[in-house]
Amino acid sequence: MIEFHLDPRSGVATYLQIVQQVKDALRLGTIDVGDQLPTVREVVADLAINPNTVAKAYRDLEREGLVLARQGRGTFVASTLAPASLRHYDALRIELEHWLSAADDAGLDEESIRALISATLRETRARRVA
């Protein structure tokens, strides 16, 4: 079951943070079709936020067709955002871990690694479009 967390300093409205966290979980496949979201009561008792805020987030998700509220039973995931390849990303993740340890061996620090990844990602994308 997904657990929400809040960043009050992010400046992002609370209900949008909840919407975003559900979408992220759907993208990563940590929740899938048929899974239940925590009830409004569970979320407010956990985070100490306004129940209307949770209801608003769930309504937004429902409008987008991502979840379905069933009267008296709760809110359930109705469709997923995870692309097929990401849903079975274990193999890719293992390759990435190998690559990261090679980068460590080569003496790259975390910032250099991030820079290298984002630069490579940008270039590959740009080349694909061209």
């Binding site: 009050p8 400046g11 409205a13 409004v40 009561r41 407010v44 008792a45 956990d46 985070l47 100490a48 936020i49 306004n50 129940p51 209307n52 805020t53």
Partner: protein
């Protein structure tokens, strides 16, 4: 939209001074309202008028569509926790719950038990911590399943952890009962997390009232080089201006996009917005402080 509480030019005079004056407001049904303002701004007076403990000196107030003085039956639908959650210290927790059950028309034992799972019913109320006492008072008032819940400074005397636990319990109860809630508190950080409607009182009058999202949407921070201030396109009212060196920072009520690109425009947070409205209106800009070399040298008296 139906409202849970309405006031029209409501005022209350105590001997010489007005505790509340010309207060007109509407609290929508289902809202969680932060009633805030400096000490002695009229928060407790407003709550006492809403519960029929005080009679208005002028104007009128309506609670769930009824006059709380002439139609006191409506008070069965109103839950009120006064400051410091007064309870009988010599009663045990169990006695207190039993007393509340017998003195209320409607009683939901399930919700009370649900909210007090970790409390021993044999404990004397006087031996409870401030946080436990606050939780007990809240559970009792939710036991009557009120349509409107009024809380006067519920966080006073609670440490941060107890404050958060209280808020969790309150929100759980609200989710269960769908009550409209008014939380009177001068600590904005506590109510910022939950309230979707604000009533700001200053000096016995309503200084600002409205839906939180709409208030945040309609206000902006403008930063730019210091200049003489004329009309700014997109700005209806300057709420606060601050100077520091050559920099000018304005908190404004906007009525359109700020097109002048010499201003850096930023969103405003609720706490900052309320502080700006709470400050005395339009302070003259502060005089430049004396240069360091003009200060008298400190002397050491040995």
């Amino acid at each position: 939209m139906t409202s849970s509480l309405d006031a029209w030019s409501l005022g209350k005079r105590f001997r010489r001074e007005w505790g509340l004056r010309d207060c007109t407001l509407t609290i929508p049904e289902g809202a969680i309202v932060g009633l805030t303002g400096p000490n002695a701004a009229g928060k407790s007076t407003l709550l006492a008028l809403a519960t029929g403990l005080l009679a208005p000196s002028e104007g009128s107030i309506s609670v769930l569509g009824c006059d709380p003085l002439r139609e006191p039956a409506v008070l069965a639908e109103v839950g009120f926790v006064a400051q410091n959650a007064p309870l009988y210290k010599s009663f045990t927790v169990g006695d207190t719950i039993e007393y509340a059950r017998r003195t209320n028309v409607r009683w939901d034992a399930e919700i009370v038990a649900d909210l007090l799972t970790r409390m021993d019913s044999q404990t004397k109320v006087g031996a409870l911590s401030a946080g436990e006492r606050a939780r007990l008072a809240l559970a009792l008032v939710l036991g009557k399943r009120p349509q409107l819940l009024l809380l006067d400074e519920p966080f006073a005397g609670l440490d941060p952890l107890a404050g958060r636990e209280f808020l969790q319990l309150l929100m759980d109860g609200v989710a269960e009962t769908a009550a409209t809630v008014v939380i009177a508190s001068h600590v904005i950080a506590h109510i910022e997390r939950v309230c979707d409607h604000i009533v700001l009182l200053t000096g016995g009058g309503v200084r600002l009232e409205g839906n939180v999202d709409e208030l945040l949407d309609s206000h902006r921070i403008l930063m730019g080089p210091r200049r003489p201030l004329g009309a700014i396109r997109g700005v209806r009212e300057i709420v606060r201006e601050r100077h520091s060196g050559r920099q000018l920072t304005l908190l404004v009520l906007a009525d359109g996009p700020i097109v002048d690109s010499s201003w850096t425009v930023d969103q405003v947070g609720l706490e900052e917005l309320l502080m700006a409205y709470m400050a005395p209106e339009r302070l003259p800009s502060p005089q430049p402080s004396p240069q360091p070399e003009e200060r008298l040298p400190l002397r050491w008296h040995g």
